[in-house]
């Protein structure tokens, strides 16, 4: 299947005649996913787990089915290891509160990378401040990669938790997760993997990675907004305290005491987002129908087409790994003399949608000595024509500003 065929499933791209290059922020949704969500609300909507009538059972089944599908998608051992959340941010907060605050002690160390999104950084900063632990960073080299010796120097005895993104949302760098997990486990640390920029784009196998926790957002992989995933090894989830308290996460409630439901229900207080889970389930079907290998191939071809084209523009500075085997289709760049926010406005006038700013990664940009970047991020529905539109719009931007830039 080619991106030209895939694109036909995304009415918004055709109707708006846009080159949508901001899938790292959120993806567009195919008609198959929209239909699945629509069908759910038309045919099977009820409050799951609570009703003894057929419709509530149908909603419960849909919800459970989505959980099985996610478990299989990332090769979790048990479907109970999948907790539905709102998004990756909520998954990480759940971990910070229910695992971090309870297990990270005074003078323990938490190690994360400098390229973490604020969502895998601020919660750990909070935990370390609250409990008196030390927060340390693995830094990147010139090319935006974390060198192996940096991993070995930082993940040492006393480290209790390592937080690492599988793919940088700014640089597109693919991090060596297996090596990091191995090193972390050798010093007795657990590892939290942020798969927000990887799960939509490549095959994930949590057992092969041996990740203790892994999180991602549905909306970055074709699903509706508001559904996210926390994967955790069952033995770890079992020992953790709940994050949110309330309906359905309980077993018995007395006036002064409560016992909690087993995982994953323990972590899913309140009426669950079944519509979102159904959408996520349909997204996984959609991606698996294309095949994750093919998804990766389509994106790789686009990235390998875009980067040389961008390199040809002498007024563009590119960031990220030079070794393209470590690079995903997330491309950060700057136009010399023009602020990313201005670039983005001018590209918008050409119907080219890119992101500009600090990409919720202020410490990384500060470390790299830049204030902000432009970011083009591609997905399965993008074509080489989208890349060409980007290049042409950049040339126009340069022309437009030429008379003012000295």
């Amino acid at each position: 299947m080619t991106s030209y065929e895939i694109r036909k499933d995304f009415p918004i791209l055709e109707n708006k005649n846009i080159a949508y290059l901001d899938s790292g922020a959120t993806t567009q949704k195919p008609v198959q996913v929209l239909k699945a969500v629509n069908d759910f609300y038309r045919e099977a909507n009820a409050n799951p787990h609570r009703g003894a009538y057929k419709l509530s059972i149908a909603a419960t089944e849909k919800y459970d089915e989505a959980r099985y599908k996610v478990a299989k998608f990332i090769n979790a051992k048990y479907s109970e290891e999948i907790v539905f959340t709102r998004n990756a941010t909520e998954s990480l907060n759940l971990l910070a509160y229910s695992y971090g605050l309870e297990n990270i002690k005074k003078d323990d160390k938490i190690v994360i990378s400098i390229m973490e999104h604020h969502s895998n950084l601020v919660p750990w900063q909070y935990v370390s401040k609250k409990n008196g632990a030390k927060l340390d960073y693995m830094y990147v080299n010139q090319e935006g990669e974390i060198p192996i010796n940096e991993i070995n120097n930082k993940i040492t005895s006393g480290v209790k938790l390592v937080g690492i993104t599988q793919v940088s949302n700014v640089l597109g760098t693919i991090n060596p997760i297996k090596e990091i997990v191995k090193k972390a486990h050798s010093v007795g640390a657990i590892v939290v993997v942020d798969a927000s920029q990887s799960a939509p784009h490549m095959k994930i196998d949590v057992q092969d990675l041996d990740a203790d926790f892994l999180v991602f957002s549905g909306h970055k992989m074709l699903s509706p907004l508001g559904i996210g995933v926390l994967y955790g090894k069952k033995e770890l989830l079992d020992k953790m305290k709940p994050f949110l308290y309330g309906g359905d996460m309980i077993e018995y409630v007395y006036e002064q005491d409560t016992t909690y439901a087993p995982v994953p229900t323990k972590f899913e207080a309140g009426t669950q987002n079944v519509g979102g889970a159904v959408g996520l389930s349909a997204s996984i079907d959609y991606l698996e129908n294309i095949g994750m290998d093919n998804v990766e191939k389509i994106e790789r071809e686009l990235m390998e087409y875009a980067i040389p084209k961008l390199k040809e523009l002498d007024f563009v500075t590119l960031y990220g790994p030079k070794d393209l085997s470590k690079h995903t289709a997330v491309i950060s760049f700057n136009v010399k003399g023009i602020h990313p926010h201005d670039v983005s406005s001018i590209l918008d006038s050409e119907n080219v949608c890119i992101r500009s700013g600090n990409h919720c990664a202020q410490p990384l940009l500060r470390y790299m000595g830049i204030d902000s970047t432009c970011r083009a991020s591609f997905y399965i529905y993008n074509t080489k024509e989208d890349v060409d539109r980007l290049i042409n719009a950049l040339l126009k931007t340069k022309d437009m500003f030429a008379k003012w830039i000295k």
Binding site: H339, P340, S345, G357, N358, F401, I405
Partner: protein, 143 residues
């Protein structure tokens, strides 16, 4: 492109590239830092007061063309004014950006800052134009 041409005008671009207001003051009365966390525009205003008069005003920092131009234009407008006049001009400017009613007479008081009027057609950039003016509001409260 029409919207763009009404925003990236000569007057705005010349101000965004101009550096005469971008400097540190030797003995500022007060400073104020302002930033837009989402896009990274980041400026510091420095003021030197002479009694009630804004004797000197400058900025340092970085940001997009709109934020830099807006800051420089504001400095030109407010230098030599009283605190009260500055407060009035800032209010007129913010009203204009928010597309609230601004009289012809009020518009004229804004001088070059009128050039930023069309920014209200680009909602994504309104914050860039407002940054300096809100920062100045906070600065005035401190002096």
């Amino acid at each position: 492109m029409e919207d763009l041409d009404s925003i990236y005008t000569d007057i705005i671009m010349e101000h965004s590239m101009a550096t005469y207001n971008k400097r540190n003051l030797t003995d500022p009365t007060e400073k104020e830092h302002g930033h837009n966390p989402s896009c990274g525009d980041d400026i510091t205003l420095e003021v030197k007061m002479n009694g009630d008069i804004i004797e000197d005003l400058s900025f340092t920092g970085h940001g997009c063309a709109i934020s830099q131009a807006s800051t420089s234009i504001m400095i030109d407008l407010l230098k030599g004014r009283t605190k009260q006049e500055a407060v009035e001009l800032i209010n007129i400017f913010l009203k204009m950006i928010k597309r609230e009613d601004v009289t012809e007479e009020e518009q004229q008081r804004l001088e070059d800052a009128i050039a930023l009027k069309n920014i209200s057609n680009m909602p994504a950039r309104v914050k860039c134009a407002e940054l300096a003016w809100y920062t100045m509001q906070n600065l005035i409260e401190k002096i």
